[in-house]
């Protein structure tokens, strides 16, 4: 793989992380707002609210995994133990 190829892969990794991070942030903003709103009236919803709030974290986790696998395609990175 040439430098250009490696660069493209690195860019893809960055894009993957940016996309999934923004998606997670947006989703958490919405859910977090709703959770806080509900909790303001019913504090006993804390547990449920927390669970709902963190669900979108899966998105960036997938982004992380995909990014990690993509990184493996770059020979220079793969060479590092």
């Amino acid at each position: 793989m040439g430098d250009l190829g490696a660069g493209m892969v690195a860019l893809s990794v960055a894009l993957t992380l940016i996309g999934t991070a923004v998606a997670t942030a947006w989703a958490q903003k919405v859910i977090g707002g709703a959770a806080i709103g509900a909790m303001a009236e019913k504090p006993e919803l804390f547990g449920r609210g927390l669970v709902l709030m963190v669900i979108p974290e899966t998105i960036i986790l997938f982004g992380f995994v995909i990014g990690f696998l993509l990184l493996g395609l770059i020979p220079q990175v793969a060479a590092v133990p």
Binding site: V30, I31, G33, A34, A35, I36, G37, A38, M39, A40, E41, K42, L45
Partner: protein
């Protein structure tokens, strides 16, 4: 407000259609839904019916009316206490909702809640008209709209109707009540002016919130449904009453019922009205009460109120991230307060449990 055709107007309308973040919908809807779940459940009314008025006050004070009961409990008792606590609570809760909403959502809620301005203006005018004391009037004032308590108190403090009208000059309601000052001696009833105030409120409401985007369209449609229900209630009340046909009773721009139709229906009997409603969603709800001559229009009115509650609640489930959950809560909360007051007043005047139960809308 005529739609202009300048470039700026086009731009504004274009922007209105953009799916921009125009309010903190998730927060507000989740919060009002939580609030709605804290309203008294149906079974509770059954228990309230078995309680005495002091016990009702105590029970309310252990729930959502806690702060109000603490503030008023030492000074008032009986029905007064229940009425004042529910009144204060209503004002606090609605002001709070406006407080925590943002953007165009806040505007819509604010305009919708201006109905309390109309209510207050009516209350004050009526009080002045029938010579009630300032204290008596203030008991029924609910400062949940745009007119603040200080302003309302000033209005209540004024001596005559003319002064009240004058003080309303900067509000949107001035034009409706202006007629009261033209020939004060000739005013024998406030009813036409009250109708005018209602009409003004709805016309203004539909005008300031044009159906430009999905949120505003939902709002618009629901308000027009509410206009229909209000008109139907008016219709059922005045049916068969002589001399009202000349008055402008109805509010324009209802969703399914046109004003011209309603004006014709005033002259019909109950089955006739029902026939005219055949192609509207209201037919099935009203059918049991209007089928025969005589019927039971009073229960028909309650059925319509119930129907609107159901519509609000259905709409709020279909469009969970819209303004509908808020409207749903506003209506349900208002209904709860009215129900509590019905129970308390019914108890006070010695009605039987069955009679009071009959009057509740749950």
């Amino acid at each position: 407000m005529a739609a202009g055709n300048t470039v700026a107007d086009y731009l504004k309308r274009a922007v209105d259609r953009l799916p921009l973040d125009r309010g903190n919908y998730p927060y507000v809807t989740a919060r009002v839904k939580a609030k709605k779940s804290l309203l008294l459940p149906v079974e509770t009314y059954e228990r309230l019916l078995q309680m005495g008025i002091p016990a009702i006050a105590r029970f309310l004070g252990e729930g959502q009316y806690h702060d109000e009961m603490l503030a008023l409990g030492a000074r008032y008792d009986g029905v007064d206490l229940v009425e004042m606590a529910t009144r204060d609570n209503l004002a606090t809760v609605f002001t709070q909702i406006i407080g925590f909403s943002e953007g165009s959502l806040r505007d819509m809620i604010g305009h919708y809640l201006d109905r309390w301005d109309v209510w207050n203006v009516k209350t004050i005018l009526r009080g002045k008209f029938y010579g009630a004391t300032a204290e008596e009037i203030l008991e029924d004032v609910i400062p949940a709209g745009s007119l603040g308590l200080a302003f309302l108190e000033r209005l209540v403090g004024l001596e005559t109707i003319e002064e009240v009208v004058e003080a309303l000059e900067d509000t949107p309601y001035f034009s409706a009540v202006l007629g009261l000052t033209v020939a004060p001696g000739e005013v024998t009833t406030l009813a036409p002016y009250e109708d005018l105030l209602d009409r003004l409120y709805y016309v203004h409401l539909l005008e300031v919130i044009p159906p430009a985007s999905e949120p505003t369209t939902l709002f618009h449609n629901f308000v027009r449904l509410e206009i229909d229900v209000t008109n139907l209630k008016t219709l059922l009340r005045v049916l068969g009453v002589e001399g009202l046909q000349t008055r402008q009773l109805f509010i324009p721009k209802g969703r399914y019922l046109r004003r011209s139709d309603l004006r014709e229906m005033v002259k019909l009997d109950l089955p006739g009205v029902l026939r005219r409603l055949r192609n509207t969603p209201y037919h099935d709800t009203l059918a049991p009460y209007l089928q025969e001559e005589g019927g039971d229009p009073a229960r028909g009115i309650r059925a319509m109120e119930n129907w609107l509650l159901d519509q609000a609640s259905t709409g709020s489930n279909l469009h969970p991230l819209s303004i509908l959950p808020v409207l749903d809560y506003v209506i349900a909360k208002t209904r709860e307060v009215e129900n509590i007051r019905i129970v308390a007043r019914g108890k006070e005047s010695g009605l039987s449990v069955e009679q009071i139960r009959e009057m509740l809308v749950v």
